[in-house]
């Protein structure tokens, strides 16, 4: 069987650190095109990969029937339109998270997926994380008893990315810490608790510490350096409370806050046991037995979740299997995030009818 030809659109950090490496290690795929509007980024990707063609215009990909699959790694504002173009051109798509800037855009993507029947997966890569899957299995098995509440904390003191750039410009990114970090945390919760339907969503998002760009003190800046002439109109703090058909979910998130403790974790509260998952790291299980309180740490071979994601993407195209990262599942968290932003604007709870 010949290797599947794929293309990567957008050759920034996430493409280089994750997608390209993983395609390179996949025996059934071969990258034919590296596309970026900044030609030098595409060129660097070719060098890194040791092959493929660097292009600036993704329409070349649309017109090449040999390309079966596409990774979309552009800024958020292009996710929807490029995904739709690719699907309509008969390509299978793996689009980076978040699905889109808004729920409306995500719905449009889902609609076109349904029309074309091509794969549309979103880069909710934690669904391919070993630890997350162990937790999901434990919850499915009833090891936690009834999962009644989940608390999500994604709070850092100073982590605004690329102040003044694409990440902090609402018309490009769609939002700030909620859409960029929150999407991962929320997605883990949705996945582990069985993707329950949301019922009510209330939240409040604040744009505070990055606003006065010149006076934003920081030690390091990812996706930096700051562009002081740029825009900062996204949320750097968010709080929320969500009722679902399953557990309630409360959350606090901060790209920046004047509290100097980094708290990046998810608490799954069940009536038999509970789990605290440190994001991107390990977890602890808390339970009780015969009057003894137990605290259990698990060690396991984590594997490379990006590799799993890409391998699964390539496989599912061949097998037709519907992955947990399919737009039909991920659309739910897009709905919730939109509702948090809407609730924040209206300063009142959004009720989601069944």
């Amino acid at each position: 069987m010949s290797k599947m030809k794929v293309a990567v659109i957008g050759c920034g950090t996430i493409a280089s650190n994750a997608h390209i490496k993983a395609y390179a290690a996949n025996p059934n795929a071969e990258i034919k095109y590296f596309c970026d509007i900044l030609k030098e980024k595409a060129d660097m990707a070719v060098t890194e990969y040791g092959g493929g063609e660097a292009i600036e215009d993704y329409h070349v990909i649309l017109g090449d029937p040999e390309v079966e699959a596409v990774s979309i790694c552009t800024p958020n504002h292009l996710h929807s339109s490029i995904s739709i173009d690719c699907l309509r051109a008969g390509k299978h798509v793996l689009c980076e998270k978040p699905a889109a800037r808004t729920y409306a855009e995500a719905l449009e993507m889902q609609k076109v997926q349904h029309e074309t029947g091509k794969v549309l997966n979103i880069g909710v890569v934690n669904r391919f994380n070993k630890g997350v899957n162990i937790i999901k299995e434990m919850i499915d098995n009833g090891d936690l008893g009834e999962l009644y509440h989940v608390y999500i904390s994604f709070r850092a003191q100073r982590s605004i990315p690329g102040l003044g750039g694409a990440f902090t410009t609402k018309s490009i990114a769609g939002g700030g810490v909620l859409i960029d970090w929150g999407v991962h945390f929320l997605d883990i919760v949705m996945y582990c608790s069985g993707d329950p339907q949301p019922r009510t969503v209330s939240g409040q998002a604040y744009s505070k510490l990055g606003r006065d760009m010149k006076n934003y003190a920081f030690l390091n800046m990812w996706a930096g350096p700051p562009k002081y002439s740029g825009t900062y109109d996204v949320d750097d703090f968010v709080t929320g409370l969500i009722r679902t058909e399953g557990p309630t979910i409360s959350l606090n998130g901060a790209w920046a806050q004047n509290i100097g403790v980094e708290e990046m974790y998810i608490d799954f509260l069940g009536d038999k046991a509970g789990i605290r998952l440190q994001y991107g790291a390990d977890f602890k299980i808390y339970s009780a037995q015969n009057g003894i309180l137990l605290e259990t740490a698990a060690k396991y071979k984590a594997g490379d979740m990006f590799q799993n994601e890409i391998d699964s993407f390539i496989d599912c195209i061949r097998t037709g299997e519907k992955l947990p990262s399919h737009i039909d599942t991920v659309i739910l968290s897009s709905k919730i995030i939109q509702a948090i932003y809407d609730s924040s604007e209206q300063r009142s709870e959004i009720v989601i009818s069944e």
Copy 2:
């Protein structure tokens, strides 16, 4: 000037550990009556105090014109009726927290306070805590800039008090962890942020880990031991989101949860600085200056907040000063707590009109 005669109604732990000790140390007050329906508790209080009379029926106090002031330290279900009886009998009242089981009961107390003009203070003792007052002052001075959000965490792994007793019986206590612990945390937030009017309140309260009393594993139990033949119908976990005229407030609280980390703190998030207050202990201030992130710990002589509370109560009767613990202020957190319970029942947000 002769000493003011006071009476203590309810001679349990809070009376013995706080009120009686503080009256004993106050040079202007003298306890004339110790009242408890369990005579031996009243007797023990007399012995402890070294004076006064032990009685079983608080109507004795109502009928004694010499008594000017009363501390009410009974279980919650008697707060309202006894406070009202005392006020109508012309006594000044310091009633332990929470004001009452329900907002309706608290409103009734406030009404009678207004009618009688006698003092009615509630035992929100943290308003007499040195550290809390330092924080309030900093916020008032603008040291934190705009205070936009407060997060309240009052979460313990196993701390249900007196399982099956008064604390866990809704008809007596009015509720569980929210009304017992949450009232203190929420009150600190209200006090420090200027007692802002609430606008929307959403919350969900769960009664999970204590429900199956026999299988509730614990290491120690305050207000214990368990009465397995008793009742457990109160909340042991609560989450909430409150919008006010000032900051938004999010909260998670647990008397019991399957997470083995005790997190008892309040985060005040301002755009210039923030503070994490460890409940009942110290606090840290986080700020930034010239690109440097600062973490400041404050040391101060804490004093005895219960002593301050009692001393202020006695003083205010003489001076006519309205204390921050007056029912007119505390009524707000009673309203919020009621709204959280109501929201939990309705599974939707409560909007509070202006």
Copy 3:
């Protein structure tokens, strides 16, 4: 039922910190005599307890028919003779650990116990420790699978007690770190693994760091201060290897060593799971499930093991129950300790015939 009259012979640290406190808290026992050859120690005990009579000669106890039970808390060299005298005088005996200086002495005690039928328990107090009992239960239940090896580490950098005093004088104490600390560690292992018969014992004991008393550097000294004119002829380091009908046991122990890491723990190695017990503290369980390695910490209400020991002693006199601390069980570790000392002298393994 009237309270049982007991006597305490030897009023040093272990009597004062453990036995007397525990008798005081036991509702069924009352101390009639406190005996010590140093009268002031006995007097202090009377004051501490608030009653009883201080005596210097334990024969008073032997002659008082009202005394039913005796705690023997003297230095080791008197354990055997006083226990035997008490048994013969019709008293039940709880003798502090080690049973005696030598196996021969311990055998003599056992013989008299058999002749008189009175209780003779040894102060192997860890058999009344909650954590130890949880471990024993897990092993009995097969949770560890086959328990094939146990490693015992009781190593401190500088902890020689009372240099030059009773603890370091072989004719009084019978030995050093092995008989004083090792007896506790070995006893826990014997208890948890079902008191298996020893088959071979090899060991080597060294008297090194305390020998040159003047130059022994230390930070603190328990049972101190040093008596430089005294004797130091006991082991401060010991190593050993024991084969039993159950697991093999290896051990290293040091009252003093030139390694600056304190390692006080027991490793139970099973083929399904293992446990590391930190002496006097908590333990961790290590297991595997579905390719995941698990590390579990247990929290439990520890209780007071000395209280349990005394309460069980008093109860067993009434009920006739044979406790796990009976001389018939403890004689085994006495045999092993003797064999280690013998092996050390002969520089070869001791084979114990069945």
Copy 4:
């Protein structure tokens, strides 16, 4: 002077990572043959080295008079026969550790060395380690005072190599964790303490966690992956106690155990000072002076011990110097390891006559 021609027999990991690299960096040696029964391994070695000839049959080497020296890097079961063949063919030999599967095989090798007079060194590479040599020097200088005991810990939670392969098959490897890891640890102790004669050896070896191959949980596997159809009949845990003319030695070792703490170190206990050497890493010296306890860490340029080993081997052929890795020295640890296995089988101590 022309370069010495050498050959490498066995082109697996240790050849590739150590021997070949070191010969390449040695100005006086040149590899003429790379021999492996798997031709592709030999070919890869040629490519890696950039020269030499790949062969499958080591008799080619025996018959080539130009080859002066040979490195033997085969599995253990071929060490003895190939070393002997090489010595008899007039070659100098550096044979990887362990010398052989059994003491009998090692003795045979030594015999032939004596007959032929050719060099026979064993790959006890730690004798060429800088840190180990510093410790040896300190002990030789008397810095530790009398070295009375050494404790060896080589314990890992999950480190069985190549489950089911050559490492875990007794007929190939001769044993498990004792012969593979223990040989290195024991050799360091022998070297540092002056290669003292053993007097008694007792030990017990267990084959437990790897036995049920399918259910062996692990995170990573060196020399892997597992061959579930292969053999597992070697020790994964060992304990031992050795008396020598110098210090006593106790040891615990595990390729796999249900204790989740990796403890890979050697404790040298002297009466003046002690040293804990972390295997393959740094060491700390513990001493006392004027009542002060000192903990000293040593920093030094470690160098490459494999390079030192190879350089010394080449040099000693020219100079005739007898290296500390000579079979005459290493034979002692072979004797001890054999005695531990024998003792384990007999379940009693082995006495070694002088």
